[in-house]
Subunit: 204 residues, 2 copies
């Protein structure tokens, strides 16, 4: 978290610093992000940076948190419009994420953040906002048509969709074939909905 000093800064200066940080993130490889570049771009002294943030990581974490906040807000707005079908919900989430990574003014920042999500950590993009860890997905998804008998099962089901959605976003960014990858995701979701096995009336 930035220091109190940072928050007390005039908005212009704050925004200039954040803008410089975003530019650096968008431009440099994540492991080569340099405070030197940021302070030069923001036209502040090196020492000042450390008066605002305790470290490079501190700054990055703050910036990521802000961007995710923005994403989550847009996402919630879109999710309101869903009819509660789980596949629709996750397609919406996918669309929101892709939109941020392609159309948003900070698209390169989003893309860089996403590309650097590690398997060993939670995916910010799919992690529910802090207050509503458990209930976030329940709010938007109708359970009536699902083969679940417990909350635990519901969570397991959600995790399937999270994994698929995350995977699909990754692929989309790599191939940049937005049409195709969206269709692929739809196929994946439909497979999950009705099963991959032949037989039974669950056939597409």
């Amino acid at each position: 978290m930035p220091t109190e000093t940072f928050f007390k800064l005039p908005n212009e200066k704050k925004s200039k610093i954040l803008q410089a940080a975003k530019k650096e993130i968008a431009t440099a490889k994540i492991e080569e992000i340099s405070i030197k570049n940021i302070v030069e771009e923001a036209e502040i002294a090196r020492g000042s940076f450390y008066q605002y943030f305790t470290s490079k990581e501190d700054m990055l974490a703050y910036l990521i948190e802000r961007q995710m906040e923005e994403l989550k807000q847009k996402m919630e707005k879109e999710l309101q419009k869903c009819n509660g079908e789980i596949t629709e919900v996750f397609l919406t989430i996918y669309d929101c994420i892709i939109h941020q990574m392609v159309k948003n003014k900070d698209r390169k920042v989003y893309a860089k953040i996403f590309a650097n999500v590690k398997a060993g950590e939670e995916n910010y993009f799919l992690k529910p906002p802090k207050e509503e860890k458990q209930d976030f997905y329940e709010k938007y998804i109708q359970k009536e048509n699902l083969k679940i008998t417990s909350k635990e099962d519901f969570r397991i089901m959600i995790s399937i969709f999270q994994a698929i959605t995350s995977f699909s976003v990754g692929h989309t960014i790599k191939t940049k074939d937005f049409e195709k990858e969206r269709q692929n995701l739809i196929k994946r979701l439909s497979y999950i909905k009705t099963g991959i096995e032949k037989g039974g009336s669950n056939v597409c």
Copy 2:
């Protein structure tokens, strides 16, 4: 790739260097891996390191490739035993990966590599060996019982399983509740097999 010089080295020395590198990877945060530590541990001069590898990344890539080679071999051996059912195949893959990350002498190296797989790049752990990009999975999976009509669909189906398996490994390493997470994966696989939707005879 290491230089010719490196490969010409006596096995003992080579192995001492690789051992030092592994120790560093197992110990340090990925972004803090230091050649300094490696050369000290391996008791070679700093300059020598650069005679063997062109850069830190070069060394890491080589080491990762070696470890993945080892993993893939073990994996193929286990896959031979499978009956061709897609869920069994991916459970086997999961078990192999977890085994390497928990029981293998280089378990910490494997765990560190896995934890640092990024969303923006292919997951080494699930990427087929270089020669057999396309056919790797086809070799072990029976398609007869699957609702697929094209190679393309088969690949999409595989990608679902890859995503789930990777996700499950990640969770397992995080929670360290091996029993539970394996059961969760089994549930996920079963959901994918028969679908998550109520109705139809595909119910569990």
